[in-house]
Symmetry: C2
Subunit: 109 residues, 2 copies
């Protein structure tokens, strides 16, 4: 017997990466060598607490590195995309493209 | 003074639509006039409880309609995409395209 169920593209999406805020963090981190905490907070329209929560999820998954330091006398937190983070973002983008292609091939969207 | 902060594409994503499972439900509902509960459950790899929870969120937002009926003697639940659901899916797809274009213009992904 053949299992006729076909997996939908969204079943391959990783919620660690797909979640709206985290997708934003990974996208911005992908654009620069490193990105400052306050920049992420402002550009994504988040509170510091909410941003910290999502950064912890990404760090625990090994997708970003977090580095604390100083810029002059000011404490700063810098976020960098890891190699695994870069691969995870690429995979998310690939799956989103499959999803878009599926939606666009089946209707008027 | 000019506010130089530019909003990131993910800030425009609606979590009601973007969430992985709900995006799958809307995409499948978009592909057919109506879709049966068990079909969604199997194709998205969900438990009935998890699917019900996400359908309630979509129904409360007016993005899907839920209709109960019979197929022969079997109770069935049918899901249809509303006009608002169709617009919301189209908007999500449009924003995802902007995001993909931004990622692809700034790196090796």
């Amino acid at each position: 017997m053949t299992d006729e169920r076909v997996e939908h593209p969204v079943t391959g999406l990783d919620e660690t990466v797909h979640q709206r805020v985290r997708l934003g963090i990974l996208t911005i981190a992908h654009e620069a060598r490193r990105v400052e905490f306050g920049y992420l907070r402002d550009h994504l329209g988040l509170t510091a607490g909410n941003l910290s929560k999502h950064l912890s999820v990404l760090e625990a998954a090994g997708l970003v590195g977090i580095e604390k330091g100083y810029e002059g006398k000011r404490a700063r937190t810098w976020i960098t995309l890891t190699a695994a983070g870069s691969r995870a973002l690429a995979e998310e983008i690939e799956r989103l493209k499959q999803l878009i292609s599926r939606v666009e091939s089946t209707g008027n969207v």
